[in-house]
């Protein structure tokens, strides 16, 4: 829906890149027209009162596996970068074009083009055609590309097209059919496991190839202490790499798998407590660029199975904001940095003019009460499936109003 009438969100605390400012945000023609303490609603404007809560950019969820509008809107997500692992995979321009329009007007989907045909990791897909059809990046999918030659050619090609390459950082040879990280819990439970070094190996190769090719490489999830050290070091050398993480890996460790609960079956698998602590440090010191939901709703046919036979993934869109608000409360990060991780940085990776409350940017805005308490209850979820590992967790932080392109989203 095109914005026909100006909209002003008043009486809130604006989350600006360098701090919190009391004021209002006025949106005209789908864009932000004015931001700040001296902004007022003009006559004839539609007005939303923030009632003293946060006025924040809408979340740009980087790397989801399903379009799940009710869950995204519940979680304050106005844009989502969709992984190419669809059925059929997004390895063809017409599929990209179709899916790019599928969420409009109140949710924008930014497809990530499949790097290789059928996501098989051997032949390059038609990346340039897919870019022109609406793809905002290239992704290797759920898996790592094992052939280093293919990976180098992919990175060179993506660098030429100036597209970010989103990769999965797990060496497939080591990972095999593993469902857990090697360690005490995998041993006690008898789960097929791979050492955490599977991530290190994948990162070492892909950082070297990123440097060689000059491509922008984004590791969708880096989850181990050693892996985060590698990314930190690569950034210090000026290599164009970025990395993300999902809340499960900074909230939970492999202890959570102890009762074979398949909602904790994730890819990469949950790591040790030491790795979880390292992830919190890396979020705090700026090594981590993006926090995303990894939203992957799975029904009982995928999850009501023995642990190793179940499909990996969690429904994360609804809990993403609350988990990141938890990091702010725990003083791991401050509020402006929280929305940099959730919105500004992912928007920058995709090259879209949104993610910060700045004049001229798309008017994608969430009114957030960061303190509002609620209990995650899988029986009452908006998502298409209930596979959350945070069931019955008490959390804080909730969206009070959501605006997409200057128009209030109503559920």
């Amino acid at each position: 829906m095109k914005q026909v009438r100006p909209l002003t969100i008043t009486g809130g605390k604006i989350v600006a890149p360098h701090g919190i400012v009391d004021g209002a945000v006025r949106c005209v023609d789908g864009l932000i027209a004015a931001v700040g303490g001296d902004v007022n609603a003009s006559e004839g404007d539609q007005v939303i009162s923030a009632k003293g809560k946060l006025i924040a950019p809408g979340i740009v969820d980087f790397g989801v596996f399903a379009i799940d509008k009710p869950a995204f809107h519940f979680g304050g997500i106005t844009r989502a970068a969709l992984m190419p692992d669809q059925s059929p995979p997004l390895d063809y321009p017409s599929r990209v074009n179709y899916i790019a329009k599928s969420g409009k007007p109140d949710l924008w989907v930014h497809p990530l083009a499949a790097a290789t045909r059928g996501l098989e990791g051997s032949e390059l897909a038609e990346i340039a055609l897919m870019r022109d059809a609406g793809a905002r990046g290239v992704a290797t999918g759920r898996n790592w590309i094992g052939d280093s030659g293919v990976m180098l050619r992919l990175l060179q090609y993506a660098a030429m097209l100036d597209l970010v390459v989103v990769t999965h950082a797990e060496d497939a040879g080591l990972t095999g059919e593993a469902a857990a990280t090697a360690g005490e819990f995998a041993t006690r439970l008898g789960l097929p496991s791979a050492p955490a070094e599977a991530e290190t190996l994948a990162l070492v190769r892909d950082i070297a190839l990123a440097e060689l090719s000059g491509a922008r490489v984004h590791f969708r999830q880096v989850t181990t202490a050693a892996g985060l050290d590698l990314v930190r070091a690569a950034k210090a050398q000026g290599i164009q790499v970025t990395c993300g993480i999902t809340p499960a890996h900074f909230m939970l460790s492999d202890l959570a798998t102890a009762d074979f609960r398949t909602f904790t079956r994730l890819s990469p698998p949950l790591r040790s407590e030491a790795d979880r602590q390292a992830a919190l440090v890396a979020i705090g010191d700026g090594t981590v660029d993006v926090i995303s939901s990894g939203h992957d709703p799975r029904g009982p046919e995928d999850k009501r199975l023995p642990f190793a036979d179940a499909e990996p993934g969690m429904a994360g869109a609804e809990t993403l904001l609350a988990m990141v608000m938890g990091l702010v409360r725990d003083e791991v990060i401050d509020m402006p940095r929280a929305f940099e991780l959730l919105a500004a940085k992912p928007a920058e990776l995709l090259g879209i003019p949104t993610g910060t409350l700045k004049v001229g940017h798309e008017a994608d805005i969430a009114v957030v009460d960061p303190e509002a308490p609620w209990v995650v209850d899988r029986r009452k979820m908006a998502a298409t499936a209930d596979n959350t590992p945070f069931d019955m967790h008490g959390v804080q932080g909730r969206v009070r109003a959501l605006v997409k392109g200057g128009v209030a989203v109503t559920s």
Binding site: A182, G183, R188, G190, L191, S193, E301, L305, P306, D309
Partner: protein, 397 residues
């Protein structure tokens, strides 16, 4: 005579003693009750003696320390509905199951091996993975206790995926099984089924997770062997027990680590690095890669079977090479403690992990005793787990 049998059955139930135990206490004749049921003649003097015994027992003059005196009463002795793994058990619960199994060993050695304890109950053996000896052992155990035993063979390939496992569980439940015995190729599958059914579930091996009845029968066989040498005790305090073979993929090893440690033993593990899981030290076991070093000072050597598909280059270059490094030969056994016992959960690859010469040593190998104890352990487990359902006093859930 029918009347007397009924009285005896009620008495046994009331005092939580098995029928063999009753026979032993009353007449020093373990199979007595079973024989009585199958029509043994009874002199009137014997009948009087039995009634007298029961009356005295009731008056609170137990003849000797029965199982009920050594363990908590009723359900407190084993407060779980299922047996999914050794990890759920306390030490005294393990000892209770072993003591209960000991009562069945004698019956199994007699001519008449059947009691009517589980009369009318239906036990389903749902095996999603191929098995010969474990299935047979559970079947015999159930039948000797008088239950109706049904075996369900479900080829792993056809029922692995989708809702089918849960659907199968719900189906078995709807058929009103009184106990379900599960073997499945995936770790945690037994727990998954146990969560969906109303009756006790016994784990007969789930993936690489646990095989609790194997660990219990190993403990029982070992305890009997030590007792026969006059070195017996209730547990294995101070003994070093070595488990050698494919630890990584072995549920037998996992259950045995937990069970043997609960019984006071020091557990050593030996395998090539690729077959040793991470974190066994945290579980309290001592890992070795050098078989000779691991053998030195070990009181018991338990060899595990190595799957043939793992010996063709993936984990081990060849069976010949495995035997060279990890095969238990007579000469190698000399490095262990004097008179060290040899165990193997079977089936054996003779000439690969164990030489025939060793496997067949009468004074050292207790491999056939392990099989024998398996039936007794499974009888004990079926008896104990069905007590709540049978309404045995003190066992209501």
């Amino acid at each position: 005579m029918h009347e007397l049998l009924l009285e005896i059955e009620q008495f046994c139930r009331r005092h939580d003693i098995s029928e063999t135990r009753f026979g032993e206490l009353a007449l020093n004749d373990k199979p007595f009750v079973a024989q009585l049921r199958s029509g043994r003649d009874l002199r009137s003097s014997t009948g009087a003696r039995l009634r007298n015994f029961m009356a005295e027992y009731e008056r609170g003059q137990p003849v000797s320390a029965a199982i009920s005196d050594r363990f908590p009463a009723g359900r407190l002795a084993y407060p779980h509905r299922d047996l999914t793994g050794i990890s759920q058990l306390e030490r005294h619960e393990i000892l209770y199951l072993l003591a209960s199994a000991e009562e069945w060993v004698e019956l199994n050695r007699g001519r008449s091996k059947r009691v009517e304890l589980l009369n009318g109950l239906t036990i389903i053996n749902a095996f999603f993975e191929n098995s010969t000896r474990t299935l047979l052992s559970f079947e015999i155990a159930g039948k000797r206790l008088g239950a109706d035993v049904v075996n369900m063979h479900a080829a792993q390939s056809s029922v692995k995926k989708g809702e089918t496992l849960i659907d199968t569980a719900i189906t078995l439940n709807a058929m009103r099984a009184d106990a379900i015995v599960i073997r499945h190729g995936s770790s945690g599958a037994t727990q998954l089924i146990a969560d969906k059914v109303d009756c006790p579930v016994l784990n007969a091996g789930d993936g690489q997770h646990e095989h609790p009845t194997q660990a219990l029968l190993d403990a029982l066989a070992l305890r009997e062997a030590l007792a026969a040498r006059g070195e017996g005790g209730e547990d294995f305090t101070g003994r070093s027990i070595l488990i050698c073979g494919d630890i990584l993929h072995s549920r037998v090893a996992r259950s045995n680590i937990l069970c043997l440690q609960a019984m006071g033993a020091k557990v050593r593990l030996c395998s090539p690095p690729a077959l040793m899981p991470q974190g066994v030290e945290i579980m309290g076991a001592e890992p070795f890669h050098d078989f000779d070093a691991a053998l030195s000072g070990s009181d018991v050597v338990m060899m595990l079977r190595l799957q043939s598909e793992r010996m063709s280059g993936q984990f081990i270059p060849s069976a010949r090479e495995y035997h060279h490094l990890y095969g238990l030969t007579k000469a190698r056994l000399e490095r262990a403690a004097p008179n060290a016992l040899v165990m193997h959960p079977g089936p054996m690859n003779r000439g690969v992990e164990i030489d025939s010469e060793v496997a067949d040593m009468l004074d050292r190998s207790i491999i056939t005793s392990q099989v024998e104890m398996g039936v007794a352990i499974r009888m004990a487990c079926l008896d104990v787990l069905t007590r709540a359902g049978r309404g045995v006093e003190g066992w209501a859930a």
